[in-house]
């Protein structure tokens, strides 16, 4: 039933000419202007440039003797350890925010706290074998996420409200269940040394010492989430419901289970962060994900900086990774550049400024270049 398009009078007369001019513009543009437009409209490109810029500036400051320590590969590699939980939770936010309808998960930090206690209890107190304990912990995280998912997807709560409520509840439960005491039994201590003893053959003397967690937790998670979002029909459905929920229904997509599953995955990722945190800190703390400003707000900040559109349907794994690296290396650099308390205060300023700058830049260019 293939047939060549009949040339209709209307198509030939006027309408065809604007079509050709608009569509051919990008290919005709100079290399330079294409780079600028990519920089302004594609967050990943902007972030990559910012990272290069940061490293270049810091290295030259270093060479000029303005830093109190060397801003070298070893330091940057070591700093990546704080990227692990941040990027993981950033990925969790990516999934829920991309799923649309105002998706967001404020409860991730509380799930880290709660499932960390679950893991600490299972592995550290009840002597459950490690693999079983991890599986059960992830299951617990998935259940926490499923509660969010049901509230949001099936009952119709705005995600901000549902996860604010469960944030309060999970945080409270973590404290009550643990008797507000960290679990730091010998097993947990051993878990720490076991985790740190496994040397990857890859990281020998030649390469900077990248923290193990980057390979054992972050890299697999990044790959899995990337595959899920880009290579599976589930990922297609997530982007579809996030872009246009109504159209997704008309296209025959089961929107409710799909949206709920985004929160389930977010909860599961949070519980993996919980296990990681227990390993990193050699103790299961009931406030692991909620102390200070908590883990949720930084994770959302990372997601937004990484180019995830708060309106849903837009966001890439690479954006999350690059945003995390930028923030972590920026923070690490500031500590060497600015001594004393001003250093840590300056980190807040830098984060706020970068976030607003990136958001405003996109806001301004979106209309001109139609970017994301």
């Amino acid at each position: 039933m293939t047939a060549p398009a009949p040339s209709t009078p209307s198509a030939s007369a006027g309408a065809a000419s604007p079509t050709t001019t608009t569509t051919t513009v990008p290919t005709q543009r100079s290399w330079g202007s294409r780079v600028i437009s990519a920089l302004l409209t594609q967050r990943v490109v902007l972030l990559a440039v910012l990272i290069v810029l940061l490293v270049a500036v810091m290295t030259s400051l270093d060479a000029a003797g303005a830093l109190s320590g060397a801003y070298n590969a070893d330091y940057l590699a070591a700093a990546l350890i704080s990227a692990v939980p941040l990027a993981l939770l950033g990925l969790a936010q990516l999934i829920v925010i991309a799923s649309g309808r105002g998706g967001i998960d404020l409860s991730v930090g509380a799930i880290v706290s709660l499932t960390g206690i679950v893991f600490g209890y299972l592995y550290g107190v009840a002597n459950v074998p490690l693999v079983v304990a991890i599986v059960l912990t992830v299951l617990a995280g998935a259940v926490c996420g499923a509660i969010n998912g049901i509230l949001v997807s099936y009952i119709g709560f705005p995600a901000l409200i549902a996860t604010l409520a469960t944030f309060y509840m999970y945080r409270s439960l973590a404290l009550v269940l643990s008797g507000q005491k960290p679990i730091s039994s010998p097993q947990i201590q051993d878990f720490y040394s076991a985790a740190s003893a496994v040397e990857l053959p890859l990281i020998g003397g030649a390469l900077p010492l990248v923290p193990l967690g980057v390979f054992t937790f972050l890299l697999p998670a990044v790959v899995i989430v990337w595959v899920l979002l880009n290579k599976t029909t589930w990922g297609r459905r997530i982007y579809a419901i996030g872009t246009n929920d109504t159209a997704a229904v008309w296209a025959g997509i089961a929107t409710r289970p799909t949206r709920a599953s985004a929160y389930v995955i977010s909860g599961a990722i949070s519980s993996i962060v919980a296990v990681y945190t227990v390993a990193q800190f050699a103790s299961a703390r009931p406030d692991a994900g909620t102390s200070g400003n908590g883990m949720a707000l930084p994770a959302i900040t990372i997601a937004v900086l990484g180019g995830v559109a708060i309106t849903g349907g837009i966001g890439r794994v690479a954006g999350i990774v690059l945003a995390t690296v930028l923030v972590v290396w920026l923070n690490a650099g500031i500590l060497l550049l600015v001594p004393g308390n001003e250093g840590t205060q300056m980190q807040l300023f830098a984060l706020g400024a970068v976030l607003i700058f990136a958001a405003l830049l996109n806001g301004l260019t979106k209309r001109r270049f139609g970017g994301i």
């Binding site: 119709g156 709560f157 409520a165 205060q345 607003i356 958001a359 996109n362």
Partner: protein, 342 residues
């Protein structure tokens, strides 16, 4: 120019017209507010029976003092959320206002009125910055205010200068602390809050500007097309919130001790948002009320106080706060669904 409809006929004040007026007036008190009032009443009765001290002035006065800053900022936050926005930077803004106020009171020894006015001005300036970026920057409010939250915290910490402010004079007592802060037993901070809530209620119900907030939240583009000046209105909502944050910062200093440290304001943004959504304001914009917000704040504080007074582990309090959010918003959702079905 021509008048489309003839308007110079004598006004016919029929019963039909009067009935219509009553119906097109937005309801003074919504269903959600009655429900909250009922829940609060039930809680107070239960707590009054189980812990005899609950319904005494010594218990209720501090409760109302604690409610005031949350409800006060909640009024502004309601305006913001009505327009479809949100402000997660109020915690940082509280810190800035509080430290500025405390420092001038201790260092420059200025009179109370000046200090309070300064606090309000600083808050309004911070709010205006938010409003400017949101209304003119074409970026979603949650992103901007995440950013400014960090900037405000930075600013606050710099002004604190790595120390606490000690020896804050007791002049702020007038906002509700001790006998000097009460008239006929009512803490002044709460009285001020009530006045602000009533003004805001009036504004949202009767003033064109107030109705415009609902319109903007309902359909921003349509509001623009109808000639509503959207950007100044949005900016106004954030600026007013900032000003209320400034006043609330004074309440918070007054409710604290004679020293102020950098933890002031931390986590307040979530408490305020919780009060607003429990109060029945739709996070999607276009629907909500300030009376609901006041009740929401009272409910949250009642739960937290109640848990402590019952002798339950204090960390259980927030479990109940979470549950109340789910129940309050859930019933609202279900009522909405039932209404849509009809």
């Amino acid at each position: 120019m021509t008048q489309i409809l003839t308007r110079d006929e004598p006004p016919l004040e029929t019963a039909v017209v009067r009935a219509t007026i009553r119906r097109i007036l937005p309801p003074a008190v919504t269903g959600q507010e009655w429900v909250l009032l009922g829940v609060i009443a039930v809680l107070w009765v239960i707590l009054g029976i189980t812990t005899p001290a609950f319904l005494t002035p010594g218990s209720l006065q501090p409760l109302l003092v604690a409610v005031s800053p949350i409800a006060l900022i909640g009024v502004g936050m309601t305006f913001i959320i009505l327009t479809g926005g949100i402000d997660v930077s109020v915690g940082g803004a509280i810190m800035v206002c509080a430290v500025v106020t405390a420092k001038v009171m201790v260092g420059a020894d200025v009179p109370l009125v000046v200090a309070v006015a300064l606090s309000i001005a600083v808050g309004a300036a911070l709010g205006a910055l938010n409003g400017l970026l949101i209304a003119y920057g074409r970026v979603h409010a949650i992103i901007i205010t995440f950013g400014t939250a960090n900037l405000f915290q930075f600013l606050g910490l710099r002004i604190f200068g790595s120390s606490t402010v000690n020896g804050i004079p007791q002049t702020l007592e007038v906002f509700g602390r001790g006998t000097a802060g009460r008239t006929f037993g009512l803490p002044h901070s709460f009285a001020i809050t009530i006045v602000v809530v009533l003004i805001a209620w009036w504004y949202l119900r009767y003033a064109a500007g107030g109705r415009h907030l609902y319109a903007i939240g309902g359909n921003e583009n349509a509001a623009r097309l109808a000639g509503v000046r959207v950007r100044p209105r949005v900016m106004g909502a954030y600026t007013i919130t900032g000003a209320l944050v400034g006043l609330a910062a004074c309440f918070i200093i007054a409710a604290g001790t004679s020293s102020l440290d950098q933890s002031v304001g931390a986590g307040r943004e979530l408490a305020v948002i919780a009060a607003v959504v429990i109060g029945g304001t739709s996070i999607l914009g276009g629907r909500g009320s300030v009376i609901g917000t006041l009740f929401g704040a009272v409910l949250v504080q009642t739960v937290l106080s109640g848990v402590t007074q019952l002798g339950w582990p204090s960390q259980l309090g927030f479990l109940f706060v979470g549950l109340f959010i789910i129940v309050a918003v859930g019933t609202d959702l279900l009522r909405e669904k039932a209404r849509k079905k009809k």
